[in-house]
């Protein structure tokens, strides 16, 4: 599926570098967590992103974050919800303002959850039509708890409206 942002297709300006491929000297690249040092060594103005697995403690990214334009979290399966906590911690505790990309195999039905945890873009291996993702984003308009999107509480209790 193409890269998705807010329910719409977006051009991907990043190049994802795998475990053992050579690292381009320039251009926007996403490196695996294990190659983060190598990526940082490329020079301060080369745009850098990193992919983390669900077991990575995001606080380890703290020193590198000022240099990172993107963090990709991974749903190795849709059942593994750790990426939600990672994304939310990146926004809430580490004040990361760059792109958070969901990768792997999340379900469209998890899209709203991802957005409310701070994910901005989705790049999945799934095949369904983009409209399923758009619909998943629009179908529910009410939420009952705070999120990193800081939807304003409205009226009664913990409720807020999603846009």
């Amino acid at each position: 599926m193409p890269l998705l942002e807010n329910g719409h297709i977006k051009d991907d300006t990043w190049v994802t570098v795998t475990e053992d491929a050579p690292l381009p000297a320039t251009g926007a690249v996403i490196v695996p967590f294990a190659r983060l040092e190598e990526g940082l060594a490329r020079g301060a103005d080369a745009p850098l992103g990193v992919t983390i697995g669900p077991d990575v403690d995001v606080s380890l990214l703290r020193p590198a974050l000022p240099r990172l334009g993107l963090v990709a979290v991974t749903f190795t399966t849709f059942r593994d919800g750790r990426a939600f906590t990672q994304a939310r911690a990146l926004r809430e505790h580490l004040s990361f303002t760059g792109e958070i990309r969901a990768t792997g195999k999340p379900l469209p039905d998890q899209y709203e959850f991802m957005l409310r945890c701070g994910v901005t873009t989705v790049q999945t291996e799934r095949a369904e039509d983009i409209s399923v993702w758009q619909q998943a984003h629009e179908i529910i308009s009410v939420a009952y708890q705070p999120s990193v999107l800081h939807e304003r509480r409205q009226g009664l209790g913990l409720r807020r409206f999603l846009s």
Binding site: T85, V132, H150
Partner: protein
């Protein structure tokens, strides 16, 4: 269906248009998901967590739909809708569960979107009654009525229900997550057998404070929860629970579903290390964002209907006279009622455990009758208990005898609450694909064997819990007498545990010896109880005799028939 101007339903949160919008969107979403499944866009593997989030299980013979009864509270209109669903889509009955919900055992997948729409019409749903998410929050069945209560826990149960509903971060946890909350010093919710147990009481500034227990549970590895925090201020309730569940989501095991509950994480890290992680998370949080403002609490409280408790001055005297005149009624009052905070009222427990019956099963007609009685006697309010019974919370004492007469006429007057006949049993091999043995027939035989109400009362308080396999849905570890179905070379056997308790004296039952064949189990339990009657001092309860004398005194009775 109630409207925004209708009187508020007693004892539970009244939905308004926003809540209804949410529910109908949720139904539409599920309809769409069912469509995608039918079209093949979703594999069964992918559909499974989505249907589970809507309470739909695949059982041995059919789909099972578990409908949420938040903190066990519902109204007569909702009960009537459940009766309608039982008649239209099931085989005329439903089953109350130990987590205060109701489930239907014979559901067709294609019907579920329509059933969910019917439920939504009366502000009900099946959201998060299964799946690896935060489940229905359970609560004291005498909440808001009990004489011993310090604080009505339902307001905070509702807040936690809302907070956990489609929680973006906690809908794909390592495993299911169960929260119980009590506002009484007498634990009627098994707080320490839950992933999180909360015990609320009034704090110094007039706002509630909470003791927080974590990491309790039954299942394969029964563990008593530990106290993580005392005197948690109300304003930090949501923040602190977020912190606990975040730590669990990040570190709970996902490689082995039998080791995935939070109890295993707490044990693996040790309580101190677990608490440090929670405290660290809590310290990092922007507490203003998560603050549970008193205004939020009061706003939700204002959506709860309050019963107008007005009784004639002589209500208690009238009840005393009725009891004197009618010994059978007197017995039922002794066993099946609970003291109310208002002296003119009493809480009545309707036993869903008729002699020889299936614990927790109710027919559609019985549901309608319960609804009618709730309207006539208890402000239209109905409570499902974790013992799989039903409570009418606020009954005028002078009208109790009349209520009892109607219950008896309908076969709902069994006087056995808290006694041998009040058995908890899981569905077992009659329904469940994981079962080793049939729990229901054992429950039926035991309850028929001890049907004599006089004998039951003489035996006194005794909890029997039956599970058909090690997953412990019947909470056998928490029973005074626990019965566990095991498989021995393809035969159904039952292992007995003694001394468990889910109350303040919380304990895990101990295995007494080798498992017994099906046809010897009921006799062995009868001998065990006879032995207790001989060994007891005065009117000592079974659990106390057992604790005084230990298992050895009972072993002979079980294994060496006279």
């Amino acid at each position: 269906m109630s409207t925004d101007t209708a009187p508020l339903p007693v004892g539970r949160y009244a939905y308004d248009q926003v809540d209804r919008t949410f529910l109908s969107q949720r139904v539409a979403q599920f309809r769409e998901q069912v469509n995608r499944r039918v079209k093949g866009d979703l594999s069964e593997d992918e559909f499974k967590p989505l249907r589970l989030m809507n309470g739909l299980y695949l059982q041995l013979h059919a789909y099972m739909l578990r409908v949420a009864v938040p903190y066990g509270m519902m109204g007569s209109d909702q009960m009537r809708m459940l009766a309608h669903i039982a008649r239209t889509y099931d085989r005329d009955y439903g089953h109350f569960t130990t987590r205060q919900n109701i489930q239907f055992n014979w559901i067709r997948l294609e019907d579920t979107p329509d059933i969910l729409q019917h439920l939504a019409d009366v502000d009900m749903h099946a959201i998060q009654t299964s799946g690896n998410c935060i489940r229905n929050v359970t609560c004291d069945e005498f909440a808001g009525a009990a004489a011993d209560e310090l604080l009505d826990p339902r307001i905070h149960a509702e807040i936690l229900r809302q907070w956990s509903t489609l929680h973006p971060e906690f809908s794909f946890l390592p495993r299911k997550f169960k929260i119980a909350i009590s506002g009484s010093p007498h634990d009627r919710v098994a707080a320490r057998f839950h992933d999180i147990g909360l015990v609320a009481r009034p704090g110094a500034q007039g706002r509630p404070v909470f003791d927080v227990f974590v990491g309790g549970g039954l299942g394969r590895t029964p563990i008593i929860g530990v106290q993580l925090r005392d005197n948690l201020p109300e304003e930090d309730l949501v923040a602190y629970l977020e912190a606990i569940v975040r730590v669990y989501n990040a570190y709970g095991r996902r490689d082995n579903m039998y080791k995935a509950r939070i109890k295993i994480l707490v044990q693996a890290l040790g309580v101190e290390a677990f608490r440090e992680k929670v405290d660290a998370e809590f310290a990092l949080m922007d507490r203003a964002d998560y603050r549970l403002d008193p205004a939020i609490v009061d706003g939700i409280r204002a959506r709860f209907g309050i019963p107008e408790l007005v009784a004639p001055a002589d209500a208690a005297q009238k009840l005393a006279a009725d009891r004197k005149a009618d010994p059978a009624f007197d017995r039922w009052v002794r066993t099946n009622t609970h003291p109310h905070r208002n002296d003119g009222f009493i809480s009545a427990v309707i036993s869903i455990k008729p002699d020889g019956g299936i614990p927790g099963d109710v027919t559609a007609d019985q549901m309608d009758l319960i609804a009618e009685l709730a309207d006539g006697w208890s402000f239209g309010e109905i409570r499902v208990t974790h013992m799989q019974n039903v409570v009418l919370g606020h009954v005028r004492k002078d009208r109790l005898h009349e209520l009892w007469g109607k219950l008896v006429a309908a076969g709902l007057g069994t006087p056995n609450i808290g006694l041998v006949g009040d058995i908890i049993a899981c569905p077992g091999l009659d329904y469940c694909s994981l079962a080793n043995a049939r729990s229901i027939p054992i429950a039926q035989k035991l309850s028929a064997r001890f049907a004599d109400p006089e004998l039951q009362e003489r035996i006194g308080r005794l909890h029997i819990n039956i599970s058909g396999c090690i997953n412990a849905c019947g909470h056998h570890h928490a029973g005074h007498i626990g019965i566990l179905g095991v498989d021995k070379r393809g035969e159904e056997f039952f292992q007995l545990t003694l001394g468990g308790s889910a109350a303040n004296d919380v304990a895990i039952g101990q295995i007494i010896g080798p498992a017994l064949p099906e046809d010897e189990t009921v006799d062995a339990i009868a001998r065990l109880i006879d032995t207790y009657l001989v060994l007891r001092q005065g009117d000592e309860q079974f659990i106390d005799t057992y604790r005084r004398l230990g298992a050895a005194s009972f072993k002979d009775a079980v294994y060496a028939p006279a």
